[in-house]
């Protein structure tokens, strides 16, 4: 990361990711930010440790009498995995962190953008339906339509930077917005801004035209 990350994931998001209870689209934002941020990687390890302790101190449920035998039989059918060779990696210059590349099927060049007006483009990523993940391409100096949220919206900056009513968000920063926030993110001059955004409820646009466009946006 060229600059220090200022805006991190909340404890609630890290805990939900660790517990495995967040919608897939949120998991994608968390996994992507953690890929870029050592601080949150360390915090996540801590929440996983909490999960480990919860299992360790859990009550027990009786296993069937032959469960160990069955498991050992399954093991001998499929022998231990060898150390796997690391998958071929894009070296150094990728814009998208690996979790996103796995959804896109490549880096930024592989994204199938669709125009959504005002120069802004987006690409919906295929995740489970309880929340939506999309990549946003906001040309330098352009704005995302002014909107509010019914639920939670997470926005992770992957390239460039944007500003809204609350602060400036640069590469690696994640904004966690809830229903209290009406905002209009504007990409900074200079570099075009690419973000990953996830929402667990449709956005509420405050202007007429984006409202008409909403069926196309599928957000």
């Amino acid at each position: 990361m060229p600059q220090e990350i200022k805006h991190h994931l909340t404890d609630a998001l890290l805990m939900g990711y660790s517990a495995g209870t967040l919608p897939e689209a949120f998991n994608l934002v968390v996994a992507s930010h953690v890929s870029l941020c050592d601080e949150c990687r360390a915090r996540l390890a801590e929440f996983d440790a909490v999960g480990g302790e919860i299992v360790a101190m859990s009550e027990t449920a009786e296993m069937s009498a032959d469960s160990l035998a069955l498991t050992l039989a399954a093991i001998s059918d499929a022998p231990a995995e060898e150390e796997q060779a690391a998958a071929p990696e894009i070296t150094g210059t990728a814009v998208l962190p690996r979790p996103i590349r796995e959804y896109v099927g490549g880096d930024v060049e592989a994204v199938k953008w669709r125009k959504i007006g005002g120069g802004v483009r987006q690409a919906i990523l295929r995740t489970s339906k309880n929340a939506t993940a999309r990549l946003l391409y906001i040309p330098a100096g352009c704005a995302v339509p002014d909107h509010g949220h019914a639920g939670t919206e997470l926005t992770l900056v992957l390239q460039g930077a944007f500003r809204d009513e609350t602060d400036r968000f640069g590469a690696g920063d994640v904004e966690v917005a809830n229903e209290d926030l009406d905002h209009q993110p504007v990409a900074e001059d200079g570099e075009d801004c690419i973000c990953l955004a996830a929402t667990d409820a449709p956005l509420k646009f405050n202007a007429m035209i984006p409202k008409l466009a909403q069926p196309f946006l599928r957000i």
Binding site: A12, E24, D38, S58, E59, A61, T71, A74
Partner: protein, 217 residues
């Protein structure tokens, strides 16, 4: 193996067991549910068990790990919404995964129970929710030497402290945390609860990451 057996939350725990498990769920110890916790020696013993599986395909070590963790993983999966049959099947798969991936366990970075938890959680998302789980990009830790025994000890001891701190929380708060991990709280409900006894594990991991970043420069 178990040096400490803390009689916990007793009636309360029983009620929770019944409530989470549903009427059909045959939980052992139902009448005298208690929380057992492994001490630092036990934790190191679990670590050597995993190493024995990795190095010698030691079935006896596996059987012991299975005896302790499988019933707990099964209970965890049932509380997370799996039927007893599904939880049983899933637990066997989780335990088989431990055998196959024993070479990937790093005792300087996680306790055995944390490792088992993450495997069980991933299986839960796969089976119960039928979703992909995006995982963070691996760090290029590179070919690592066998971790320092002292580092391993420290992490295992800190995990024990964390477990004790969780066990010592006021019931109401502990209950919230359990609910969060069993999937009974929404993200915004989790956001309202605070005050987890965190800190030590994070700083260990943070140190390791700092060291890695320095090496990479």
């Amino acid at each position: 193996m178990l040096t400490e057996a803390i009689p916990l939350a007793n009636a309360d725990a029983d009620r929770r067991v019944a409530q989470y498990a549903g009427a059909k769920a045959p939980l052992s110890n139902g009448a005298k549910a208690k929380v057992t916790q492994s001490g630092p020696k036990d934790r190191m013993a679990w670590v050597s068990h995993v190493e024995a599986i990795r190095d010698r395909k030691d079935q006896a070590a596996f059987a012991e790990l299975f005896g302790y963790f499988a019933p707990r993983v099964k209970a965890f999966l049932m509380k997370s919404g799996a039927s007893p049959d599904l939880a049983e099947e899933c637990t066997q798969e989780v335990m088989a995964t431990l055998w196959r991936k024993a070479h990937m366990f790093d005792p300087a970075k996680a306790s055995v129970s944390t490792w088992i938890f993450t495997v069980a959680r991933n299986r839960k998302i796969d089976i119960l929710r039928k979703e992909r789980r995006p995982e963070p990009e691996d760090l290029p830790w590179g070919p690592e030497a066998e971790p320092e025994q002292e580092e391993v000890m420290t992490l295992q001891q800190e995990s024990k402290k964390l477990g004790k701190a969780i066990a010592d929380l006021p019931d109401k708060q502990k209950d919230l945390i359990l609910k969060a991990y069993y999937g009974e709280l929404s993200h915004s409900e989790i956001a309202e609860q605070t005050g987890l006894p965190l800190g030590t594990i994070k700083s260990r991991i943070r140190l390791a990451l700092d060291r890695l970043r320095r090496q990479m420069k």
